[in-house]
Amino acid sequence: MSALVCEDVHKSFGSLEVLKGIDLSLEDHEVVCLIGASGSGKSTLLRCINLLERIDSGRISVNGQVVTARGVDVNRVRRGIGIVFQSFNLFPHMTVLQNVTLAPRKVMGLGKREAEEQALELLSRFGLEDKRNEYPDRLSGGQQQRVAIVRALATRPQLMLFDEVTSALDPELVAEVLGVIKELAEGGMTMLIATHEMGFARDIAHRVCFLDGGVLLEQGRPEDIFSNPQEPRTQQFLQRIIAAGRL
């Protein structure tokens, strides 16, 4: 059974069609990187999978369950899918520990103690236990993003979505966040990662998908996509990336 299946997914904002029939599936424990220029539809696809955007037509299934059907409990679906955003989106009025325990307590119904124990376990796994009583604004961008990842992991999702999670970070802080994602990949987490970090994608992905203008133009093993892209648009995109010194 596939962890995620997108079938002919269409999404428009007004007259602008952002996704023009996306077909994509992920097996369990698979790590897939989405690459493509800004506006190619990477973020929108992730937001659709998390049901933050309603798709216009097509079908999305997670672990065999069609999540875009009518009458689906969206809150239940979202528990099983963690998403991490470019701009962290931590809750500024809550401490790190409160950020991480919010969903376990409110959504999964854990008691305060149990939720905090589990949160501390996760935080210490990623070297953040000493920040547990800090407010997000007192943390560096890299720390904030790591807390955001821990927060998303706290509901024990089977699928993690990453939406350009290092794009808002200072260059020297990128590595610590990518390190966390790498660790998750080694732990067997199924992940769909939209990224501009091509070196990282080549390193970590089992498969790389190139999105262009709302179409999944080309996909394959990272070594094939990066060294021998078939589509002219993919070649063009990668040449620009290389010219910018990002690969």
């Binding site: 937001r47 998390n50 933050l52 809150n75 239940r76 979202r78 528990r79 899918i81 963690g82 998403i83 955003f85 701009s87 989106n89 931590l90 809750f91 500024p92 009025h93 919010l102 969903a103 409110k106 959504v107 407010y135 604004d137 007192r138 927060r151 998303a152 509901t155």
Partner: protein, 279 residues
């Protein structure tokens, strides 16, 4: 950053330290000396002094009006609690999304439009004289309660708008983050949106409350013996307006600490924002 800038941020009133303080003190002294001289040398000053600032009348009515002012305080304290709760409800109604809630949103909008438009004194009249005239057996005829109700109705409309501004100032990405964790819309509102919104609107909210406190004096027109009504009775007895000055004194007395507190809050929020700190 030089020293003057730093001090300037710390003290909004004096606007600086050291040499700047001396300049501020001097210019204040000059300004008020000139003002006092102009007033005292006005042709009608003797007359005004006798009518508005009679020490004998002042001493005689200071305590009486002070006692009456306790009623104003009670009215606004009760009203403020009710307004905080009702306005929050109204603001939440108005921010409900989707077509299903359209009737509720519409009601909230009509409410706000109508009651922000009606002059407070008119609604005090309408409630104070209109409701008892209906002769409903279970509805109070107490002018204090009816007048307070009119204030609650009016200020709920204002404060709801303040809350709504706060709710809308919370970035949509906060809601996305919360919903993505599986929290329901209601849980998101309670635990993520409102706590941030309310923190941000405390200063404008206190500002509205200062307005409300002064408006308790409007209840005088329907009869309760609060500070202004007491002052009117005294003025009519003494043929002297000093009681009004006493009343003004009490209103100013309770307003000043709140105004300074509001300034302090605004200043603190700005400093925290600049330090990248927690709001």
């Amino acid at each position: 950053m030089n020293e003057d800038d730093r001090a300037g941020r710390g003290s909004l009133i004096l606007g600086g330290a050291g040499r700047n303080v001396s300049i501020a003190v001097l210019s204040t002294l000059v300004f008020f000396t000139v003002l006092v001289l102009v007033i005292v040398n006005a042709p009608g000053w003797e007359n005004v002094k006798h009518t508005f600032f009679d020490p004998k009348v002042f001493r005689e009515y200071f305590r009486t009006i002070g006692h009456a002012f306790v009623l104003n305080i009670k009215i606004f304290l009760v009203a403020e609690v009710l307004i905080l709760i009702l306005a929050l409800g109204l603001a939440v109604l108005r921010s409900l999304p989707g077509p299903v809630f359209f009737p509720l949103r519409l009601m909230a909008i009509v409410y706000t439009d109508v009651f922000r438009g009606i002059p407070t004194i008119l609604l005090v009249y309408l409630f104070g004289f209109g409701i008892p005239a209906l002769q409903l057996s279970h509805v109070t005829k107490d002018p204090v309660k009816l007048g307070a109700a009119a204030l609650v109705v009016i200020y709920t409309a204002y404060v709801a708008e303040v809350y709504r501004a706060g709710i809308e100032s919370v970035h949509p990405s906060q809601e996305a983050a919360s919903r993505s964790l599986g929290l329901t819309r209601g849980q998101t509102l309670r635990t993520v949106i409102l706590p941030q919104a309310v923190r941000r609107v405390v200063p404008p909210l206190l500002n509205d409350f200062i307005g409300l406190q002064k408006d308790t004096a409007l209840l005088a027109v329907i009869g309760p013996v609060e500070a202004l009504q007491r002052a009117t009775i005294a003025a009519d007895t003494e043929f002297n307006y000093t009681p009004y000055v006493i009343t003004a004194f009490f209103f100013v007395l309770i307003t000043i600490p709140q105004a300074r507190f509001t300034d302090w809050l605004i200043n603190r929020q700005r400093q925290r924002r600049m330090a990248g700190g927690q709001l």
